[in-house]
């Protein structure tokens, strides 16, 4: 945190940060489930615009689509 002042101008956020239950297994399990859902969504989203020609697109499979370099 780049807080140069003694009094941070964002006390609310700091309090929130301290509330994050890093060691709570329940919280971690819940977080992992949410993250799994997010990752699934992002992977599927990445795979979707395969037919859009927006310059060079690299899919998560490593294939390069629309390679414009000759």
């Amino acid at each position: 945190m780049d807080c140069h002042n003694e009094e941070c101008s964002r006390p609310q956020e700091e309090e929130d940060i301290m509330d994050i239950p890093l060691d709570d297994p329940e919280a971690n399990r819940a977080a992992a489930k949410i993250q799994a859902g997010f990752r699934g969504h992002m992977t599927r989203k990445k795979l979707k615009p395969e037919d859009k020609t927006e310059g060079e697109e690299v899919s998560i499979t490593g294939d390069v689509f629309n390679r414009s370099v000759v």
Binding site: E13, L22, K33, I34, G37, R39
Partner: protein
């Protein structure tokens, strides 16, 4: 080591077997992580059409051309096929491989199918309510929103930590002008793809 007792007299008192039968397959180092899954015990119940779809997706990920994919691609193929496995679930299905194995070992399509079946059969699958409930924990004011900044921190420090790039990609366009995220709308958006 079986101490030689009276071999002639049948044991009157129950003598516990000195040594159990030698295990046919010696266990590798005791894994504190989840025990490996017996993939051969999984009954694959996909229709022929489904198998063809899966085979096509699988093929897209094969960059080597050996009809196999690397261990570290399995999670993404499953995601591409509509599943949301945790990395831990996939690691367990792969038999808790080392990082090197994840990058170098490959599996063929037939080996992949029972893994996919296991994920599809998983009883822990999260639905809309689960995600909303999970996010509601961070709804400090109980007004249906969470601070985008707080959500970012949670995603990067808890569970299966996400990278900043992943989080940015996820959160793009989700925060309102106050930096808040309406999490029900967020989850609907997530589940739409």
């Amino acid at each position: 080591m079986a101490p030689k007792k009276d071999a002639k007299a049948p044991a009157k008192k129950a003598e516990p077997a000195p040594a159990p039968a030698p295990a046919p397959a010696p266990e590798p180092a005791p894994a504190p992580a989840a025990p490996a899954v017996d993939l051969s015990a999984i009954k694959v119940e996909f229709s022929a059409d489904q198998i063809e779809d899966y085979r096509e997706a699988f093929g897209l990920f094969d960059r080597v051309g050996d009809n196999k994919v690397a261990y570290n691609q399995i999670a993404d193929i499953m995601r591409a096929l509509g599943q949301n496995p945790t990395n831990k679930e996939v690691t367990k299905l792969l038999g808790n491989p080392s990082a090197d194995d994840m990058a170098s070992k490959r599996v063929e399509f037939e080996g992949f199918l029972p893994m996919l079946q296991a994920i599809i059969n998983s009883p822990n699958k999260a639905g809309f309510e689960d995600y909303v409930e999970g996010l509601r924990v961070f709804d400090k004011e109980g007004n249906g929103t969470v601070m985008g900044a707080e959500l970012r921190i949670v995603l990067s420090t808890l569970g299966e930590k996400m990278t900043e790039a992943e989080i940015d990609a996820l959160m793009t366009g989700q925060e309102d002008e106050n930096g808040c995220v309406n999490y029900e709308a967020f989850v609907k958006h997530i589940m739409s793809v």
